[in-house]
Symmetry: C2
Subunit: 341 residues, 2 copies
DNA sequence: ACTTAGCACTCAAAGAGATTGAGTGCTAAC
DNA sequence: GTTAGCACTCAATCTCTTTGAGTGCTAAGT
């Protein structure tokens, strides 16, 4: 693959990203020093090799996903952020935050507004946190509320209804049992094994209290897998997409969960044809992980059309995730201090 | 307004509801015993009077909102529900529910699926409920969780961050204070007056604890005004609407809150031209209130195109709200029993 | 052997009639 | 007051033409 071809491919992608129209040979002349005829010949070859395609014979060229792949992996030059831009981005993040979930949610929203794309954030910090309080509160006939608070400030509650009322003694037992066996336990250590051992240890109380335990387990599972989608509106108004596809995508959150998996290892750019089962044609997904105290804690992702402005938006995304990492790690230090006191 | 005119108007609306196309004089002949020419003359008059309109000279007639108004108020015959249909509707409702919010939410979703419209539910039952527990739980440096549980099973929590840590004594004071002054208080009695009197009564503690109180008040306000929208997808796919209007409607929840107000007094059918400020052109909104123990407790609403199948859907809606009323009232009795014990 | 000017060719998009048909209003007869 | 009949209207659809951006190929130029 000679140098001029790469330059032409780059020019096609660059042009197409801004115009959204098929790019002709003349438009490339301002980027590459060669006549339109030469460029046409080169483009014909790029097409043979699968990097470009024509919507129809007499139209210009459009990058294929293979073309985008080469572009983002090797050709594109990212626009580095100026200090001013950094300040602007900082201004979009909250200075302070109450819970980590709050922070990532706000960052996600800001990114969505900035890029006019949808954003998604998978936050697995709760997984690394420890249970700091579990309480069971009776609230009516056979009704109980389970309250769980984790060290990262996340709170979760669940109402459950039992078959019969618990005696005072049973409640007290459960309370103590939880205090001894769950308080201070990292959520990620709550394997099914661990749980079943616990239930066994409850002995005669097991029968009556097991519904509570199973709700508790459900809660921990829900905590460590939270995926939030923002900027749905931007997908709906983007004319690169098929509306019905977007609607069915928004309708099944399940898919979201699935695709974000395995994107926790560095910047990642994926195209819909590469990700099979993903319904939105012509879309690309860019993800960047963030960490808490050196440990991967989640990922922020951008869902947009394939002709998204990679050069500009990738730096935005990476800056946001690095800021998130800083902020939540710093906060973590504080609460460590707290423990030492 | 003579009888035949009314029959013709009814026929036009009925036809238009199923076809969505302007209705011509011939189509009416199967409903009204008269020649197409006569019907045309009558329709011309109905148009003069503002009940019908023509998209263009050589097209059939379409009802105006004034036509719909007359139709729903006086002409339409509702399809009464058969026992079988009632059973089907019952099957869509949960047999049992944990919180009232759960129930109305599920009913709302079921109605949305059934009618392919959006549904909205304003639930003010929390307002009539009493505070059964308030707790403040420290969860980290200067971090506190306020937990509030109301008698109808609703739970709300809020994380707040204070400027300084509270002493054990301060916490205990707040705990007692809340127990004495808020536990058992109906939410609707928490007027601003009442609150400010309370804060004054806190004396020297006021300064330090007022952030907690203000969060608490916020929580009660959020509790008694919950509006839930379901079936957004149906609005997006309905071709009677302008997509951009739908998107901007979905984007500002505020509007939702506003329009549902004042619809708690019996079945209500509104058309977008009557409800100014409401962005969705060509839409109609049908609401029906539900009650808890004889007291209005909220309303369930249906948002659809103006040519919605009123005859069929109004009975659905009313059946649902009557079932909701039954179910939450019955449940209430149970918890009353509970108190007596 | 590569580059490029030139030319014939292609094809989507936009515009200009022409055609169709559902529906109307009006009139004159019943 | 009702209705059959007829001329008229107009959106929708189709066809035909024009336009123009863009191509591939060829032959001459470097």
């Amino acid at each position: 693959m000679d140098d001029r071809k790469l330059k032409i491919l780059t020019a096609v992608v660059d042009e197409y990203i801004v115009s959204g129209e098929p790019v002709g040979s003349k438009a490339i002349m301002s980027h590459v020093k060669a006549s339109s005829a030469t460029i046409r010949n080169e483009m014909a070859e790029l097409e043979k090799q699968g990097y470009l395609e024509q919507p129809h014979t007499s139209a210009g060229r459009v990058p294929t996903y293979k073309g985008y792949r080469l572009y983002v992996d090797r050709l594109m030059e990212q626009d580095p952020l100026s200090e001013d831009e950094k300040k602007e981005l900082d201004a979009m993040l909250p200075e302070d935050f109450v819970t980590e979930k709050d922070l990532v949610e706000k960052a996600s929203l800001a990114l969505a507004e900035l890029t006019k794309c949808a954003t998604v954030v998978a936050n697995s910090t709760p997984k690394f946190s420890i249970i700091s309080k579990v309480e069971v509160i009776p609230t009516g006939k056979r009704m109980y509320v389970i309250l769980m608070i984790t060290s990262n400030g996340e709170i979760k509650n669940k109402v459950c209804r039992l078959e019969f009322d618990l005696t005072h003694e049973q409640l007290e037992f459960f309370d103590n049992f939880v205090k001894q066996n769950l308080n201070g336990v990292p959520l990620e250590e709550l394997s099914d094994d661990y749980i079943s051992k616990l239930t066994e240890a409850m002995g005669t109380y097991m029968m009556t209290l097991s519904p509570l335990v199973s709700e508790l387990v459900k809660m921990t599972k829900e905590l460590d897998r939270s995926v939030i989608l923002k900027g749905q509106k931007n997908l709906l108004t983007c004319k690169d997409f098929d509306q019905t596809e977007i609607i069915s995508f928004l309708d099944n959150e399940k898919e979201l969960m699935d695709f974000i998996d395995g994107t926790f290892s560095g910047l990642n750019v994926m195209f819909s044809p590469e990700k099979d089962g993903f319904v939105i044609h012509n879309s690309s997904i860019i993800t960047s992980p963030f960490s808490k105290g050196g440990r991967t804690a989640g990922a922020l992702g951008l869902i947009g059309p394939m002709r998204i402005d990679y050069a500009k938006f990738i730096p935005y995304l990476e800056y946001f995730t690095s800021r998130i990492s800083d902020m939540i790690s710093q906060r973590d230090d504080v609460s460590d201090d707290d423990k030492e006191l």
